[in-house]
């Protein structure tokens, strides 16, 4: 019983760290700034959830789990906010995305 839980927790942590690693590769090899953010956001979404979720299973029901949950909640609230601040600052500074196609809201089938 304990062994199985530990294996599940380990698998969660490992798969989370794989997502994190892939995000790092993405941030390095994507062609322009805005697509690099997508790579980096890979490390900010499912990666922490899986890693911290796996650690929560390791810890069992205790104060440690509550702390891990707090870290996770905090990361999930702040990382998109920071990313938005970054992207918006770059946009306002005049950094243009490369090779994009535009889809405005008010074209043929828009609301």
């Amino acid at each position: 019983m304990n062994g199985i839980l530990e294996v599940i927790a380990g698998l969660l942590v490992i798969s989370g760290s794989l997502f994190v690693l892939a995000g790092g590769i993405g941030a390095l090899r994507m062609p322009d700034f805005y697509t690099r953010i997508h790579g980096a956001s890979l490390t900010d979404s499912l990666g922490p959830v899986l890693v911290l979720g796996g650690l929560m299973i390791y810890a069992g029901l205790s104060l440690i789990t509550v702390k891990l949950a707090a870290v996770m909640l905090f990361l999930l609230v702040t990382s998109p906010t920071a990313t938005y601040a970054l992207a918006n600052a770059a946009l306002l500074a005049g950094l243009q995305p490369e090779g994009v196609e535009r889809m405005p809201a008010d074209s043929e089938d828009g609301a």
Binding site: H38, S41, A87, A105
Partner: protein
């Protein structure tokens, strides 16, 4: 009545202090109360919080939304993982505008953050009437425009 909200904030902060500290001696507790009061005073000095009425309904709807968002995150993470490791020609960056004129501030924040949190779509600008997002592929932009996520957010906060 005006003191109600700061008082609730102090109590909530002190509860967190008790949970985190694990050291229950009188001087430590006094220090805790003083620092909680200080934090709330500084916050009010910085900016008055939004005077929206409390909507407890949000408290039970938001967790269900999070569960849906978690599933959405799993799907989009796997998609972006393949894009990142695959050839560059698979990318088709698109900028899409979503109409958001009917949303409250809370709904707009939730929608913007959810879009950024799911990889492959990224909020780059929000104003009162529309939200601009950068997408890694055309398909992701089309999904965003079809408005599945916006409808979920609107269901969480119908105002």
């Amino acid at each position: 009545m005006r003191l109600m909200r700061p008082l609730l904030a102090v109590i909530a902060l002190f509860a967190v202090w008790l949970l985190w500290g694990g050291l229950y001696k009188t001087p430590v507790l006094q220090l805790g109360i003083v620092s909680c009061l200080l934090v709330v005073w500084l916050t009010y000095r910085m900016a008055l919080p939004d005077q929206q009425e409390h909507r407890l309904a949000l408290l039970y709807r938001v967790p269900f939304y999070w569960l849906w968002l978690l599933w959405e995150m799993v799907v989009t993470n796997v998609q972006v993982l393949r894009l990142v490791l695959g050839p560059r020609s698979a990318l088709s960056p698109t900028i899409v505008e979503v109409d958001a004129s009917a949303s409250s501030k809370f709904a707009l924040t939730l929608l913007g953050n959810s879009i950024t949190l799911t990889p492959g779509t990224l909020t780059i600008n929000i104003d009162d009437t529309r939200l601009t997002a950068h997408c890694l592929t055309r398909a992701a932009a089309q999904d965003l425009r079809d408005g599945g996520m916006a409808r979920r957010v609107a269901a969480v906060d119908p105002d």
